[in-house]
Symmetry: C2
Subunit: 442 residues, 2 copies
């Protein structure tokens, strides 16, 4: 079986909703059609975008003829339905209609899946259609698929998640600057990290919906919003944060789902959202700004953490399209579906042609003009210097002084770096090249 | 369609290899049979374990009648084949035979998949069988499935991985203690983190195999071991580490797969393993000891990180069994396969019955006997104190002194904590309860 875009009939994709995430999903489906199609095994054809009203000005980025207010007809004529409307209705009815019509469904709707997830995926299983909603929790971070598939042979015991970027940004600002909650909230609103009405975020409701979804998947049991204890961050004061800091803690709003035994030894699950002190050396303590992370403890796997952007149109669109392409692969093969694809054709590059940054350590004579001579060699080889740091070793009486130089370069090729180092090493004022190491992450 | 263990025929599972990981996989298949079967949709019956010789003493943990030296017969009579022998042959031939017989294959063989992965999964696709090998890279960390499925709608631009626990342990020790490489290696060997012959780890060969696999999946293109530039950590000195530290860097052995353009603007991929300086505030810099982590940069998702245990029998068995259960789900339904399961029946626990640690802040009169009275109330309510810290506010002349108390408790129920706080607040020596916050991660 060798599927190519040429031989395969396109899969008809219907998009419900054209908000922040939906409009990015549409853009990527159109812009990256070739790459997505070759990975899916068939072209993904965006056949329509259902919106509430055609009058809204959506700019000129997306073809106007794709928009429609008739969501039901769109759903009935699609192979894949992407639901990004949010809220319970009409999202729920449209998803059920898609399932009835045998369409694959991808959603990012946390409110709906926190309330009705298990009922919806039982219906999808019964109809033999695929249903996925990775984007509903923690934006771009792959977390639902790892819990559902990768950890399906293990027993999860605890999930601790920073799943709301707004509150993490606010708490992180309070921790970094000593600000009070109200001031940090205002700053977050000015930067677009918090909405004008921040209730759903700061009262923990958004995190509670995600906690219910995480708990249901982690413990293979249906948990709904009413099972989640929820406490927001509005009562957290600058004093709380300062006192926590003094004790070696940081305060985070965590979504927690935890397997525990009662006094009789019977298992149960606690699902809760509340401001929580975490030791500063805990991996979640290092999650700053609007980033999200989910920390999972499993009996065999031990501790795992998944970290990334938890919100935003483009990152969340990545999660939606991951679900779409994965589902399309399985649709195309009927059976288990395609696994890896080797449809790309990028060549492997030899290390000689690769540019990276380097850190070069030099033991040099402490004489006037040395720095200039070294810098000239770097410039002659087109190796640009990012930082140069010199530490002088005090010589004993009568001895000549030496200095240690540490040079970090901008990206340069292996070849030009090697030429540079060779020429520098040959300078009479150089005692030795003490180290040459590559640098990443700058 | 409602699959239960009672109605479904067992899936016959053959295990090839009974080493560190294989023996844990066998143990869990036997011990957790009920839970695994209910998630898979059919019982998973371990029908045999192929080993090189029956004479080896394997203790008494696994039933002796499962062991056989006839791997070929075992493979030909299995629905699912788990290959954990390692090395190229006979693993490769046995996997091909399993594919020919229509069996689902799960492997943890990094050497084989670095060399022949794309050829093997093309054969599996052509035969319509499932093939997965999550355990081959980064042990328990779900990384191959997220790259293959969750990021299939995105464009990965760079992968930076700490994928070898031995070298990370050695470098982390050198960074923490100032030790030389040889001493840190010896310590790692004594603790079982490094083998007697550490070549494959310290020369970067193990990481290079994983880099080839990560690159192939990330860029949908076949990269083999000969495409990987490889430099180990044997040349890294204590001076290198100290100088890096002084500059705000840490040295890590990274497996890097990076999309880049040449001078003509044509894309290519660099796959390489070498000691690398990373800024200390980079998420990978906080990966200590023998832990692994993979940092992924994608066009839409942005930065993602996956963190966890990269080796060890039990953690790696978790990854193997995740592949087994996921594959079994799809086999049982033929089509897209089961997604989530709600076969668990653990009840939701109310917050009132949940035990967590608390941190209580109290503003108290600075008088003798106050601490004892507070501690008595905690004891009467069976709330055990982990730490108690007091800071005294110097009063102005003539004013009464006050103190701030911060008490962190062991796990206590919400109900007993509430009773404690109520009684403490009623003490005449208490000016106010300044905060009550929950603590996790201690």
């Amino acid at each position: 079986m060798n599927l190519t875009e040429a031989s395969a009939k396109p899969l008809r994709v219907a998009l419900l909703g054209a908000g922040n995430v939906g409009s990015q999903v549409a853009r990527i489906l159109l812009d990256d059609a070739a790459a997505l199609g070759s990975r899916a095994g068939a072209p993904l054809e965006l056949v329509g975008i259902a919106v509430r009203s055609l009058d809204t000005d959506r700019g000129t980025a997306l073809p106007q003829e794709l928009f429609t207010t008739d969501a039901e007809s769109l759903v009935e004529n699609a192979d894949i339905v992407i639901e990004l409307m949010g809220g319970i209705e009409p999202a729920r009815s449209l998803i059920l209609r898609a399932i009835e019509h045998g369409a694959t469904v991808v959603s990012g709707n946390k409110a709906l899946f926190a309330q009705d997830g298990p009922a919806l995926y039982e219906k999808a299983d019964a109809a033999g259609v695929q249903l996925s909603y990775e984007a509903a929790v923690a934006g771009a971070i792959p977390i639902l698929r790892p819990i559902r598939d990768s950890l399906s042979g293990d027993r999860i015991t605890r999930v601790l998640g920073i799943v709301n970027g707004t509150t993490n940004y606010i708490l992180d600002q309070m921790d970094a600057t000593g600000a009070q909650f109200a001031d940090a909230l205002r700053a977050a609103q000015e930067l677009g990290y918090a909405e004008a009405d921040p209730t759903a975020d700061v009262e923990g409701h958004d995190a509670a919906a995600k906690a219910a979804i995480l708990a249901s998947l982690s413990f293979h049991t249906r948990f709904a919003l009413e099972n989640v204890y929820c406490e927001g961050i509005t009562q957290v004061t600058a004093d709380d944060i300062a006192a926590a800091r003094a004790d070696g803690y940081v305060i985070k709003l965590l979504a927690i789902a935890e397997l525990l035994s009662d006094e009789a030894g019977d298992p149960g699950v606690s699902v809760r959202v509340h401001p929580t002190l975490l030791p500063r050396d805990h991996p979640l303590a290092a999650v700053h700004g609007a980033f999200n992370a989910v920390f999972v403890e499993a009996e065999n796997a031990g501790e795992l953490m998944f970290y990334g952007q938890g919100a935003g149109g483009t990152p969340t669109a990545s999660a939606v399209l991951g679900d779409v392409v994965s589902a399309a692969r399985r649709m195309m093969l009927g059976g288990p579906g395609r696994t890896e694809t080797t449809t790309g054709h990028v060549p492997a590059r030899s290390i000689d042609t690769v540019s990276t940054s380097y850190c070069i350590g030099l033991d040099v004579a402490d004489q006037p003009g040395v720095l200039a001579r070294i810098a000239t060699i770097f410039a002659d080889n087109a190796v640009s210097i990012e930082t140069m740091r010199q530490s002088i070793h005090q010589p004993g009486p009568g001895a000549e002084g030496t200095a240690e130089l540490r040079i970090v370069t901008h990206r340069a090729t292996e070849a030009s770096l090697a030429a540079t180092v060779k020429q520098v090493a040959a300078l009479p004022v150089i005692n030795s090249v003490t180290s040459v190491l590559r640098v990443e992450g700058i």
